[in-house]
Symmetry: C2
Amino acid sequence: MPNRAIPDATVARLPVYLRALLELAEGGEMTVSSEDLANLAGVNAAKVRKDLSYLGSYGTRGVGYDVEYLLYQITRELGLTQDWHTAIVGIGNLGRALASYKGFSERGFRIAALFDVDEKVIGEEVGGLIVRHLDELKDIVTDDRIAIGIVATPPQNAQEVAERLVDAGVKSILNFAPAVVNVAPDVNVRKVDLSIELQILSFHLQRTQAIASAREANRQLGG
Amino acid sequence: MPNRAIPDATVARLPVYLRALLELAEGGEMTVSSEDLANLAGVNAAKVRKDLSYLGSYGTRGVGYDVEYLLYQITRELGLTQDWHTAIVGIGNLGRALASYKGFSERGFRIAALFDVDEKVIGEEVGGLIVRHLDELKDIVTDDRIAIGIVATPPQNAQEVAERLVDAGVKSILNFAPAVVNVAPDVNVRKVDLSIELQILSFHLQRTQAIASAREANRQLGG
């Protein structure tokens, strides 16, 4: 299974399907058509069918996909059947919010350690964990088998923190800091830009306003 | 311009191109090929060319796209040439982090008001703004021309807060709470799932581990 090539764009859509399927399962739905799943995920039905075919899932004509089985397949494919131990570096407001974000543990990401360099924060309990000094990173990554590091520092510290994570043996980094981080090519860095969804809202807002303005102009012209 | 139909999937990629172009511009690049832009955005070059053609941008053979002009076109298309007044409801850790998140103001989202219902938080200054009671929402939305509402409450309060935003006249909602929100169809709601990028990291982590295990098994077999 690890050798089958799934396109990156498909991998990026699997969490979106997963979220939609969880909502369907909570609502008691047993099956879902590719059209309905496509609507929930915001893509077209042909793409859903193509994406799911990479998982060996083809659905049944006239019935659709079995929700529970598809959930199982996507969860397994994404590696969410195991818990990934995750550390957060930078325990400011964002780090605190992430430390208690329920969406992480629900998906199998167990926040196992918190780090900062501010003496006022070190030793404090946040979300049931004691904040440790960043100098303890290497030991704790080894002892607690930390696989993923989340960078929630100010932008100017992101690069250094990423390097320290890599030096400690962490090969997967999620960067929340609005800064670009450069690391070795075998390290997987993903960047979260919290403004992307706002930009999509803005696109639609602008359209709505432009249409309203055009209607108003037309009305004033007595059209 | 507002009547041209740009597919939703293209709209969703425009912020990703924008981010890549801003990095190129900061690095002093004047032009970019569709291949390079595709690599930065994590899609294929044919998709980049198709997406940008909706903006009337076709690049120059052998030269590529003009970075500054493309930045201008995408910024205009996304409605980011104007400031959108934005309110945050729920001033816990996440709300505080969002209130001071630099990535919002850089993209034209001006945080203009903060709301909560907790008397211990109301009146406090956060990121230069005084936290107001949610009961003042309607007046402030009108007076400050708030166009976008960000929900950063606990999941159990998200639905009520969304309804109050809509009732106050806000038609664009960004929901950070891990809860589904149902509103009228003319309201645009986008949901941020902070765990999506972690799930993509998990996919790659699992692959790497599976390959390492296979190699180890092979080594032990003397292969």
